[in-house]
């Protein structure tokens, strides 16, 4: 078991998402930054879609109630085991009663704690990713206990040295494809969208990142159609919305851009007030 001694700002259990239930309106959800999530599981030798703990901006304080191995990835904020500093992206053996805590945030905003064999929270529709009305819990709170795999950790540990490229946590360019509705933008907007420096708004969460800069338009809404994480929608009020992992399955606004998979990971490490530019990829 792992105990949440003190919850962070927004802690949840996530894997790589819930697929195959979209016909019931079930969102994909899953870890915001798949790259960091997969890295943590790779260091431990877990399945790449093993469930891990995701935290945002302020990390939780955790207590381990059994021996296991862990790996911390994503957001950089000096991690400590029993107040001794430990590195991100490495295999760390923890013992029963050890306490994991973090210092203040330095870089990025989504952190991951993977445990050997994965967290074993409730599995609903083949996934453990927390989502309101799908899983019992939407977020972890102080005092929660989460089950972890009881498989003994291997004697021979992985020595792989894996490093998060610096660019991953502080990239300026966000790679996009032209969206399926890109052509309905006027020529001015088609050019401006790739030269504007966009700012992430305060209204940004696991469902969508809103951008501060406006694109005034008189576009008609589209007939409700599929969307996916990474879809950039333009609303009639001129608001640009980048859909993130918890986004709904369909939407009625023009889909003007689509982030690459890596771009979703990188954008999810940015916080409100940070700026970036869309860099177009040719398909």
């Amino acid at each position: 078991m792992v105990e949440i001694l003190k919850a962070g700002l927004y802690d949840s259990i996530q894997d790589l998402g819930r697929f195959g239930y979209q016909e019931f309106g079930v969102p994909i959800s899953g870890a915001m930054d798949h790259y960091s999530a997969k890295l943590a599981n790779a260091v431990l030798g877990n399945q790449e879609d093993a469930a891990l703990l995701e935290f945002t901006l302020i990390a939780p304080r955790l207590k381990f109630h059994s021996d296991t191995a862990i790996c911390i990835t994503g957001m950089e904020s000096q991690a400590q085991i029993n107040e001794k500093p430990v590195d991100n992206n490495v295999y760390i053996i923890v013992r029963k009663n050890d306490i994991l805590s973090f210092g203040s945030r330095k870089l990025g905003c989504r952190g991951y704690v993977a445990v050997y064999g994965g967290f074993l929270s409730e599995k609903v529709m083949e996934s453990r990713s927390f989502y309101k009305s799908i899983t019992e819990q939407q977020r972890l709170i102080t005092g929660d206990f989460i089950k972890v795999s009881q498989v003994p950790i291997p004697i021979k540990r992985s020595n792989a040295i894996l490093k998060t490229p610096q660019a991953h946590l502080e990239s300026f360019g966000i790679e996009v494809f032209k969206g399926v509705d890109f052509e309905i933008l006027n020529t001015d907007h088609q050019n401006k969208i790739f030269t504007t420096e966009f700012t992430i708004s305060k209204d940004s969460n696991r469902m969508a990142y809103q951008l501060d800069e406006r694109f005034e338009n008189s576009l008609e809404p589209i007939i409700t159609a599929p969307v996916s994480p990474g879809t950039v929608q333009l609303t009639p009020s001129g608001q640009l919305m980048v859909l993130m992992r918890d986004c709904q399955t369909t939407g009625g606004y023009p889909r003007i851009l689509q982030l690459s998979e890596m771009a979703i990971n990188r954008l999810s490490q940015k916080i409100s007030g940070q700026t970036f530019r869309f860099d177009v990829l040719t398909a």
Binding site: G20, E23, G25, A225
Partner: protein, 244 residues
Amino acid sequence: MKSFQLTYSRFSETSILVEWPQYIAPEILKDILLFKNYLLKNESESIIQITSAYCSILITYKFQISNIEAKITSLKSNYNSRQDLEIQIQKTWKIPVCYDLSFALDLEEMSIEKKLLIPEIIHLHSKTIYKVYFIGFLPGFLYLGGLDKNLFMPRKKSPRQHIEKGAVGIGGEQTGIYPNASPGGWNIIGNSPISFFNRKSDSPCFASAGDNVQFISVDVETYREILSQVENGTYKIESEVLDG
């Protein structure tokens, strides 16, 4: 079997969007479901999921698409060889709705706006047999087609922060039921005691795209009875089967 002129475009690194002519019609829905089910049967090894909406589907593959042209050619050949195999069984679900003003927050305003008496609005809303086009937006939210033109009503200018679970609303040319409490901008005209989403079931919503829905007006007392049956798991939603 009618064939449509479809367009295929890359949506993301792993997905392709297929679009039918952009209008809402039962014959498009029928063709979408036919193609979708055919693909899920024949390409289940490479496809991870297909999201359908009014006149498009999004096909998501397990792996990155390296040769988009080849994928599109294969989709086209699948479309041409799809078959109208089984007679589609259409269910018509009878959904109890209480239009009492204690639930129907916007019914009076709508009556004034549309110059219709409240019983007329209830009659127009509950006489129609609606078509389930797809489930989207929220888990268990049915997109229904067939709302009577006289009931078209723009969404509210400022959405409500909290709409009750089961609220029945009208937004523009659409009507629907909120499967869970959520913020929303539709005009609320009633509430249904039925659960539209059961997270513990492998088939979490009783209805699927292609089914029909009809609203049955019930009084407050019947509403409460049904609600308690729903809560203790004894309520069975009535349905009729029509041959398609």
